[in-house]
């Protein structure tokens, strides 16, 4: 059996037909690019994925990193594969030319990365975090810091991390206890313990740049007293050469259910007098800066979740096409040949659910990266501001929807394969485990829901909320004009009415009533909103498919577009509408719970 990673046809559909990426080549920033250069970057990533990553995709899982008390040992294939990514210039493909990047649009880089993630599983986290770390320093660091810490990360010499969580401060960052004391030379001595730091130690790069949240001695309590520091594993001399080891020690590795492509570490800063750290920007604004990286990481998490769902779908689809088992209920002849399991109705249902979840989720992620491109390079300031507004608003959903539905899709991939899906001869059980981290890290689903309801919705006089409603309306207007889509347009319209009235009730309750009570439904609200957004994106896919069906003479294309319409139908009929009629009932009911039955 071949190892099907992703559907090339579907990625091209999303990139060029749905999101019209070719248009980006007309912008000044991307003037050197066109569809050929986009495809070249994507094909390069695919080749590296298939040549370097795919052969050890499951070995990273069965041979997780080990710490011998001094060093971290990872299988050697990881470094060879990451070096291939570095050599191909794919560490920071979206960065400026003069920072070592390719100035590739984010949406193209995301599709290129999809191949790497699908083949390399969570190993790609090393590169993604490094890129996000460099982007933060590029945005908020000094010119000297960019020179010293960003360029080596862009070049693949250094890696980067995000060090926030502590044993006593996970979701409640305001309680973090790591401290920083200013030194005469302007640097700081950082002391504290951080846990769950992805990529916090390894031997894959010359150096690791930790971005560490800490409280300067005497700073205010809570989130307003948090500062951000660059704390390298190895100190760097002014000429860029490596100096002494910094006072940063690996306390241990966590053994995770999945995500074993990347170390998860417990780090001790300053056990021997204090780790040398360099302030980013101003004191007490650390959390604001960190959100630059965190927002990027949140989109990365959603994209990883969606990609894992996509590749699990392709794998189980391929298996279902080739595995004979049983007969249709109508067949009574035991001498007839068994059918391939894709013929069974319930296998089709589980494949279609995966298609609905994974392609819906990935479309949402690509929308996010399209907005990231527009934010940076759209023609007018107004367009750039609008893109920023929408991206900011959608981020909790881009993070959460794929993270919640990705594991569901992967569970179906297991179920399609039966007992064979549950053993490590096949990767789908690993996908299921890998994907289960995504609703947790970079802000749990609960945290994302509070961000959406208490911050993103009311923000700027409901500006983001109104903007997305406007986008829905545009799509509905187009869909209504297509006979095959009008029923879905109307259903989406009804769902939006539920969303609107729910939002009004919740906003009023937040002002007039107990805020705790009003926010107690935030996760269900996030789920409702996410379902509406993904249903809207399926309708957008449906519009493209219906128009293309009228024009294409090719049988394979006809089938492809009809498959899109079937998944649209499934999304609306079997899944997304489910939340709406029952939603109101649960409002405000959860705070009266008694849990005393021990």
């Amino acid at each position: 059996m071949a190892l099907p990673l992703l559907s090339e046809r579907d990625l091209a559909f999303m990139l060029y037909e749905l999101f019209d990426a070719e248009e980006l080549g007309e912008r000044t920033r991307y003037a050197d690019h066109n569809r050929e250069s986009f495809d070249a970057a994507i094909n390069t990533a695919r080749r590296i994925a298939e040549k370097y990553f795919l052969p050890f995709r499951q070995k990273v899982d069965t041979h997780q990193p080990a710490f011998d008390g001094e060093r971290v040992h990872s299988i050697p294939e990881i470094k060879r594969a990451l070096d291939a990514v570095i050599d191909a210039g794919l560490v920071s493909p979206t960065a400026d030319y003069d920072a070592g990047g390719m100035q590739l649009p984010a949406i193209v880089a995301t599709v290129a990365n999809a191949w790497l993630w699908a083949a390399g599983s969570t190993t790609l986290g090393y590169i993604a975090l490094t890129n996000a770390n460099a982007n933060l320093i590029a945005a908020h660091g000094s010119a000297a810091q960019v020179e010293k810490w960003v360029l080596p990360q862009r070049a693949g010499r250094f890696a980067g991390t995000m060090a926030m969580t502590e044993p006593g401060a996970g979701s409640g960052l305001g309680d973090l206890a790591t401290t920083a004391v200013k030194q005469a030379d302007g640097s700081y001595k950082v002391t504290g313990n951080k846990i769950f730091i992805s990529g916090g130690d390894h031997e894959l790069n010359e150096n690791i740049v930790h971005l560490v949240l800490a409280r300067v001695k005497g700073a205010p309590q809570g989130v307003k007293g948090i500062s951000l520091f660059i704390v390298p594993k190895v100190l760097v001399n002014d000429d860029g050469s490596l100096g002494d080891r910094n006072d940063v020690a690996l306390a241990g590795l966590f053994h995770k259910m999945g995500g074993r492509g990347q170390t998860s570490t417990s780090l001790n800063f300053g056990e021997n007098g204090g780790a040398t750290g360099y302030l980013v920007g101003e004191e007490n604004k650390g959390l604001f800066y960190m959100f630059h990286m965190m927002n990027e990481a949140r989109i990365m998490v959603g994209t990883s979740a969606a990609t894992t769902a996509l590749t699990g779908y392709q794998y189980s689809l391929d298996y279902a096409r080739e595995r004979p088992q049983g007969r249709l209920p109508s067949s009574k002849d035991p001498l007839s040949a068994p059918v391939n399991i894709i013929e069974h109705a319930d296998i089709k249902r589980m494949l279609l659910a995966q298609k609905s979840y994974s392609e819906g989720a990935y479309t949402l992620c690509l929308l996010g990266t399209q907005l990231a491109d527009d934010e940076k390079s759209a023609a007018t300031q107004e367009e750039r501001d609008y893109a920023h507004l929408l991206l900011d608003f959608l981020t909790p959903m881009i993070k959460t929807w794929p993270s919640e539905y990705g594991p569901k899709a992967n569970s179906y991939a297991i179920q399609v394969m039966g007992g064979h899906g549950y053993i490590n001869e096949h990767p789908v059980e690993m996908f299921y485990r890998d994907n289960r981290l995504n609703p947790i890290h970079e802000g749990t689903t609960g945290i994302q829901s509070l961000d959406l309801l208490s911050r993103k919705v009311p923000m700027n006089n409901l500006a983001g909320y109104k903007a997305i409603l406007g986008e829905f309306e545009k799509t509905i207007a187009i869909a209504k004009s297509q006979a095959e889509l009008s029923v879905y347009a109307e259903e989406l319209q009804r769902a939006i009415e539920v969303l609107k009235s729910t939002t009004e009730i919740l906003l009023a309750a937040m002002v007039e009533k107990n805020i705790d009570l009003a926010l107690s439904n935030s996760v269900k609200y996030l789920e409702l909103f996410g379902n509406v957004v993904v249903a809207w994106l399926w309708l957008k896919q449906g519009i493209v498919a219906v128009l293309a069906l009228k024009e294409t003479p090719h049988d394979a294309d006809q089938k492809f577009y009809r498959g899109k319409l079937q998944a649209l139908k499934y999304s609306f009929e079997a899944k997304f509408t489910i939340t709406f009629p029952c939603f109101f009932k649960s409002l405000f009911s959860w705070l009266v719970i008694l849990l005393s039955q021990k």
Copy 2:
């Protein structure tokens, strides 16, 4: 932190208040028993669970069984713990006294076993399969076979397996290729390969009794030509002593995502001329006999799934009570102490969902064991037949509902604990992996759904279907008389109307239309039916709680019963009603799918 396994209070509620197990002591079969002897058996199991199993619960997961080419190596703690179960007489506690059992009611044995399963995870599968194997031979074997194979299993000397699946025949058993050739002495030579055989090899017992499905040379194709054989690992002499090794070889162990407490094996029968096997009953009736064991195994799977959900709930509940993190949205003071996470609304929601799923699932399993008791020991033949009818009808739901909702509950246990739930310092990630097997083995959810819709519902002129509807009605009548419950009684009534009309449509379609089309919604139908059954059982729990609340003066009891009513409310408002209004839409839509988007 203590390791909370299960809620003793809740188990007592279910056993004595909901299912009135004390009444069983009045039956002839259980004349030696009363609540004291029931509790003594349960407490013995609990002590063994806490002393022997709990200390290595996670070690069985991190040190999975290994095959060195000759022997299987398991951690030594497993044998010590299983021997403690054997010594306590808990291998076959429900068996007759003269077969080495305790004649304990099945419902009591199930509650006793819950402690062992909660602490020992999937290690208990060895004992459960052994028991089910012995029960099959006791029911369908000859007196000599009972003497030779059942008694040593009851005594814990031998273990038992169920060997059905083959590389080319999983859900499609009719295609199995293992053959049997009759010998002059009346025995058979069995040749073939079996995979996914749980407990198929190990060194925990003197011998292993495989119950093997095979086709006698010349028998009809399909399921009508399957016979059942006892094929021991080691041949047994007529005096009961062990003889030569049989021609049964371990080809390898599967590496499963979870369920590592028990080996999963690939076995080769007859590589050297044929494994000696002994026919059970008559030729070509093997599948009928095997269903004796399979039905028991299906209830065991459901019960294991429910127990894993219960213990994950208790673990995360305990964690939530002791882990401080963050503040309520209404708190603006960063100097205030963090609250324990159980104070957060969304944590409460996730705990309540676990309570709803796990206690609902376990109640369903206990209903099954109550029916198993009634089938065997109710006063009149009519009552026994009625219990048999209901148990037979409910089996696909007892197998499936806990298996589908158990992993969902365990996923919430992880989410409550955040990053700590994802690492192997805590057992909830293992529960999540263990539980994912349950929708697959002993007949997938798809297979169960076909059993329900195409066999169990139409069976005997809808006898089982009508019987369960009658049970619903009785409960609704009682609930309507309680002010606090009437709203749920009415909602259940509405759900039943949906179930009835759905059933009518499907039955008509099975007769009049394409059978494949009619059965294409079988899984959704099973889900609908299962939701109604569990909602009904929650309503039954609610009735007990409402009546008890009026009588108990104790604060702890008041809280316990109110917790039950909150979970009832959650079950109806946030979960079970969801399936109903949207169900019709998806009917008949899944066979028109095109999956050609590669």
